[in-house]
Symmetry: C2
Subunit: 205 residues, 2 copies
DNA sequence: GTCTATACTGAGATAGAC
DNA sequence: GTCTATCTCAGTATAGAC
């Protein structure tokens, strides 16, 4: 069991290699724009060989999104649990979300853009867990608003605004760009906390 | 000439009807996930008939994105020109952007999600005009920062953050949802102005 | 576990009748 | 301006050898 867990960033087994190549390909051309033949070519194998590891192209997409959600739910849980109080927790959650969307950019991008390519059954599974993730952010905003440290007109809308803003990082981030993930996260955290923090002396509007 | 201009929301000629059906279809299944046969079926015609109006499926996608960019560039220009001063102008630009992404939700969504489905030549044309649009927002932030009314750590990053946050409205907005476009725009304008406005008495961070 | 060969379906696009 | 018929190619997936 330990061996299979370690595999993620070390000696990748065949299924791992396939998923990684699929992430890159789907990200570049989209799910429907990518063929099993093209995916196989990137891996220097024949298309038929892919079917030994995955039952279908749809299964590959689902595996990618499912693992990405594992990472998101697990990560935000740890980040939030490590600190106390609504502002620190929101900072931690936003920071994690931005870093995840920079470091695991391609899979994170797919989790937003290829939902429509899932079968109904798979979509239900993915959406249920995505809702769970969003509830974490809504929860943080609600608690902060009730405690009087946040000023949030509409919790759901604010959560969507925060999440889509940070998720967008996956669409434009570049390894070779001007800003490192840490810098982007710092700025995003600052912007977001400014926009939800209650200002004692009269806020601009 | 007047007649063709009027057509957009009235008696749609064949090309118009095709574009509108394509917007709905591409939005739902993606460009590569949509076939000319399916598009034709939605219009109750045969696939071959589409080729009388458009030379290729790619031309349909390009026409959609091109027209959407017309709307964005034209609209933001008018919105910004109507008021004075960086805060009012940023408000107007954000407001327009949000309303556009709610009212013309599907085409706006495609302009973000289907760039990768364009041919290289078409992509160049679209990206050039999208850059032009983004420059409007960067310009507003720069002017406000220099005037001392905005506090913006990084103009480019802030512009990206604002735009991706507002563009995200096209991904989740629903006609039958809880909030009207106007309400969403109001809240977004408020959040964004809070996050960029310089606070004289010491800002939270 | 990967291959060759292939079944079967649907894709984009064109020709030419009406 | 829309149709029927069709070309050509690429798609997902399977069978069965090695």
């Amino acid at each position: 069991m330990a061996a299979t867990v370690v595999a993620t960033h070390e000696r990748a087994d065949a299924a791992e290699r396939i998923l990684r190549a699929a992430i890159a390909l789907f990200r570049e051309r989209g799910y429907h724009g990518s063929s099993m033949r093209t995916l196989a070519r990137a891996l220097r194998m024949e298309a038929a060989s892919l079917y030994y590891h995955f039952a279908s192209k749809q299964d590959i997409l689902f595996a990618i999104l499912d693992r990405t959600l594992d990472g998101l739910l697990d990560g935000v849980g740890r980040a939030v649990a490590a600190v106390d109080g609504p502002p620190a927790r929101l900072r931690a959650a936003v920071r994690f979300h931005v870093l995840f969307h920079a470091h695991r950019q391609h899979e994170a991008f797919l989790s937003g853009s290829e939902l429509r390519s899932l079968t109904q059954a798979n979509l239900r599974l993915v959406l249920a867990r995505r809702d769970e993730y969003e509830r974490v952010f809504r929860g943080l905003l609600s608690v902060g608003a009730r405690a009087g440290v946040f000023q949030v007109g509409d919790v759901r809308l604010t959560a969507m605004a925060i999440l889509t803003m940070c998720t967008g990082v996956a669409t434009w981030f570049s390894d070779r760009g001007r800003l490192a993930p840490e810098s982007i996260a710092d700025r995003y955290v600052e912007m977001i906390l400014r926009s939800v923090t209650r200002h004692p002396k009269g806020s601009p509007s």
